[in-house]
């Protein structure tokens, strides 16, 4: 546990806090791990550590609602420590980690183990996501109440869909006791089974089995219906298709309280990336058509999609240096999500404030976390961004154990320069 009595003054940066609407050049004073003051000019108290943020952007610590840290069970892919290092380097101060570990996080002892490891690493606030079903098998509810008592903030069988509609209904009803969301991995296995790439251009050209957009859309629609039926809190993970975005937009217009996320690969890449059989571009759901990518981008712009998640899915070479059909799905993302999101600002799709909200206050609200805002008295979880910094994605420089990025060699601009949680520096470039 980080305990910090030091005083820090972040000076002269552009403070951008979408939650309060504050945007301007301010000094920010940190005392006792909390934000003490934000004012145009603050005289440094005696002994204060000064951080010069001139020309830099000071934003709420970023929150990633969807990661895979692989521990326990797959420590050769990633550990809670290496995942935390990657998160800090990527500007994240809080993250939620999915339950598909081995053993899965379907009981409170695994939840407690994850929390202990997270505290020992001490680099990022880690909020475990519990399984919906025992063993992620989609048969019967896991002990959600016990896991909530140990610290889970949501439930999800992510990696697998909850195919049984009755079980999904029960999850959306039962979780109302605790007011936590059910995060749905939308995939109809009957339509996707054996599939490797998007059905369309990619399956046609490669001969690899296709996964139609409808495998996602049909489950998005089912879950929207179940959310309406139950009044439960539904969050839709990694939205990748145009018709999913349409369905969510329509549901929100009718007043349904549903939230959704997408990941940088779905707003950056298309199925063209798999035409060379590059296994690092093998993700689930698969990279889609150019029209789908456009719709996802529009969904981010108009607020249909509430937040951006990395869906950080580290794998080792053992799972990726293989025939496409044998390779595991997933790309790492913790260290590229911020610059890829800033690219949307550079391209004129989003305002800077929108982009930061998608990575901070919005995901924090979905998970009911008191995070994602630079308010007085809040934990000093802060990301200082150098918006002009140019970088080339180089897997060899990742803190993550996973080298499996779908973006190797991509030139980007803007990254975290300093990351702090509770006033303590967890990353400094």
């Amino acid at each position: 546990m980080i305990t910090n009595q030091t005083t820090k003054l972040i000076r002269g940066g552009r403070i951008l806090d979408p939650a309060s609407g504050r945007d301007g050049i301010f000094d920010l004073l940190i005392q006792n791990g909390q934000i003490a003051r934000i004012d145009p000019q603050i005289a440094p108290p005696p002994g204060a550590e000064i951080i010069d943020a001139t020309g830099l952007l000071v934003v709420p610590g970023l929150v990633d609602i969807h990661t895979h840290l692989r521990e326990p069970g797959y420590e050769y892919k990633e550990t809670i420590l290496t995942g935390s290092q990657a998160a800090a380097a990527g500007g994240f101060t809080s993250l939620a980690c999915m339950a598909n570990t081995d053993p899965p996080n379907d009981n409170s002892s695994v939840t407690e183990f994850i929390r202990e490891r997270a505290q020992k690493a001490g680099l990022v606030n880690i909020y475990p996501v519990g399984a919906v079903s025992k063993g992620l098998k989609g048969e019967s509810l896991a002990e959600i109440g016990s896991m909530v008592a140990s610290g889970i903030v949501a439930v999800s069988d992510d990696g697998n869909p909850v195919m049984n509609s009755g079980l999904m209904r029960n999850a959306l009803e039962y979780t109302q006791i605790f007011d936590i969301p059910v995060i749905s991995h939308c995939e109809d296995l009957g339509l996707s089974q054996g599939g490797q790439v998007n059905e369309g251009l990619a399956s046609l050209r490669t001969g690899l089995a296709g996964i139609p957009a409808e495998a996602e859309v049909s489950m998005v629609v089912r879950d929207l219906l179940l959310a309406r039926l139950t009044g439960g809190k539904l969050h839709l993970a990694h939205i990748s298709t145009a018709r999913s975005v349409d369905a969510i937009r329509a549901a929100k217009a009718q007043g349904l309280k549903v939230t959704a996320e997408t990941a940088p690969h779905y707003f950056t890449l298309t199925e063209e990336a798999v035409l060379s059989f590059d296994t690092n571009a093998k993700v689930n759901p698969p990279l889609r058509s150019a029209a789908d990518r456009e719709a996802v981008r529009n969904g981010l712009r108009d607020g249909t999609i509430d937040c951006i998640a990395s869906d950080h899915a580290p794998h080792s070479l053992v799972e990726k240096d293989l025939e496409f059909t044998q390779a595991s799905s997933g790309t790492v993302g913790l260290e590229t999500t911020l610059p890829l999101t800033l690219k949307l600002v550079q391209e004129g799709l989003l305002s800077l404030s929108q982009a930061i909200a998608l990575l901070s206050i919005n995901p924090a609200r979905i998970l009911n976390l008191k995070k994602g805002s630079l308010s007085i008295g809040a934990d000093a979880d802060i990301t200082v961004i150098d918006p002009g910094r140019k970088l080339t994605v180089d897997p060899e420089k990742f803190r993550s154990r996973g080298r499996n990025t779908a973006f190797p060699g991509l030139q980007l601009q803007g990254r975290a320069a300093i990351t702090l949680i509770r006033g303590e520096i967890t990353f400094r470039e």
């Binding site: 046609l204 050209r205 001969g207 690899l208 059989f277 025939e323």
Partner: protein, 310 residues
């Protein structure tokens, strides 16, 4: 003439001129197989590895004969007798074989893209002998060669491919190859076996046989690959044959001089009746014969003896 790539991964990436280069070279090598002594010293001292991760009789034998007629040494590696059964990965197997210093690798693999994967790991010319449902470029070339030989040209002809298009690497290579050479391509089969969006490749789609046969110069019947179909997306082989099988009655729908092809092995009485397979319209055995000449051309042109590129 030089080839852009040192590999042959698919016809999608070849230009018309490159395809013609392979076909013309095959044309000049075909005569060797009718000699009394069927051997030339062209590839003497070269080693060709046949890496076959999937059952194959025709293609493997054809590559082996082609290599031997050019005096290359050939080694056949098949998955069932190899360390693959001990859990070795494709890359590790291939790196080990590369260490034995072969000159060319021919690979057949059940996964689409496996030959391309090898090009990233081996510093050797890679020849795709069929990868998953992706491409089978030497089959495409031998089909083109056979049509050109029988019809005197490819430009302006209409080719109808019948059967399981979705899972067919032959269909993909033929679609690319025949279109590049100026032919029109139709595909025909149950909609459950035609990939969505096939029209974007420039082909015409039919779900009934009769209109697909009308006016066709070349008919390619594909094998129903039961081994690739966990649950066949049609009710029965009997019904398939009734709707899409080429029999003598349907042969009469074709214009005179049309030819029937099949990449083999045939399922007698399913996609093609035995009477048709051995009729005067059938060029199925010519395809097999020409396969040797085409593979000799591919081995020769990719052996480094004549390719300047890379």
């Amino acid at each position: 003439m030089t080839l852009k790539s040192r590999h042959l991964l698919g016809l999608e990436r070849l230009t018309r001129a490159e395809i013609e280069y392979f076909l013309d070279t095959a044309g000049s090598l075909k005569e060797i197989s009718s000699r009394d002594i069927k051997k030339v010293p062209t590839l003497r001292g070269k080693t060709v590895i046949n890496l076959f991760f999937e059952a194959s009789t025709r293609t493997r034998t054809s590559f082996e004969i082609a290599a031997k007629r050019l005096s290359a040494d050939t080694i056949n590696f098949s998955a069932s007798t190899s360390s693959v059964t001990k859990g070795e990965t494709l890359i590790d197997t291939a790196k080990n074989i590369e260490a034995m210093r072969p000159d060319l690798v021919v690979i057949r693999h059940p996964a689409s893209g496996a030959p391309e994967l090898l090009t990233h790991w081996l510093d050797l010319p890679i020849i795709n002998a069929g990868d998953g449902s992706h491409e089978h470029p030497t089959q495409g070339l031998l089909d083109l060669f056979t049509v050109r030989e029988k019809k005197g040209k490819i430009d302006g002809l209409t080719l109808t491919i019948i059967g399981d298009i979705t899972h067919s690497r032959v269909a993909r290579s033929d679609i690319y190859g025949f279109q590049k050479m100026g032919a029109r391509v139709r595909v025909c089969g149950p909609p459950t076996l035609i990939p969505p969006g096939i029209e974007s490749l420039g082909v015409q789609k039919f779900t009934r046989l009769e209109p697909a046969l009308e006016g066709a110069d070349v008919v390619m019947a594909l094998r129903i690959q039961l081994e690739r179909l966990a649950a066949p997306p049609f009710p029965s082989l009997r019904e398939y044959s009734r709707l899409f099988g080429i029999n003598l009655e349907r042969l009469r729908l074709l214009k005179p001089g049309s030819i029937i092809m099949h990449p083999g092995p045939i399922n007698r009485g399913v996609e093609i009746s035995p009477e048709v397979a051995y009729s005067s319209s059938s060029v199925i055995l010519d395809q097999v014969e020409n396969g040797v000449a085409v593979r000799m051309a591919v081995l020769y042109l990719l052996s480094g003896r004549s390719v300047d590129a890379q």
